[in-house]
Homo-oligomer: 108 residues x 2
């Protein structure tokens, strides 16, 4: 599958929110999860920029813990604002994807 970056705009951040929401985790591991999920070309730098943005926007709680196999990890979990944002993301996704699928099926 060739370049998906443009189509991921606005959705990748939501995916990261979902991953954090289901389990407290950290940037490097999130990148690996996204890769295994099929977003093979997503690299660390991209995920870290998203995480820093989430932190700046106060949607996550951050805890730094030593790793044992490398530098310390920054663990992220959602706060109330983050959970609200996640819910809004899925509502938008539901809305947009249903309209696009309707267009695809010739719904006009």
């Amino acid at each position: 599958m060739d370049d998906l970056t443009e189509m991921l705009k606005g959705t990748l951040e939501g995916c990261v929110l979902e991953i954090i929401g289901s389990e407290e985790t950290y940037g490097y591991a999130i990148t690996r999860q996204l890769n295994e999920l099929g977003f093979a070309d997503v690299v660390e730098g991209t995920v870290y920029t998203i995480l820093l943005r989430l932190e700046r926007n106060k949607l996550v709680q951050v805890t730094k813990r030593p790793s044992g196999v490398g530098p310390p990890r920054k663990f992220y979990s959602l706060n109330d604002a983050g959970r609200e944002e996640l819910a809004k993301f899925w509502a938008k996704w539901q809305y947009v994807s249903s309209r696009i699928n309707k267009l695809k099926e010739g719904g006009r």
Copy 2:
């Protein structure tokens, strides 16, 4: 539904391609179709930038015709490259939306 613009990045162009692919039409009418389809906040300016880009990328054939109710209209139809691009768009959409839905259903 609040602001969808970020989520439409990378998909709105595909939607316009689909609309053009199903019927030869012009910018103003495409905007109205998108609005009726549920993308209520998409305005003319946005559609015209997409159309100019499609033209620049040689994905469409353009014919100018008088209107009778206003200035002349530029009618767009897909050429071979445009049809190919449209097929690629739907393949990408299928790929991305299925992965995101899997993530949503807790597929990890």
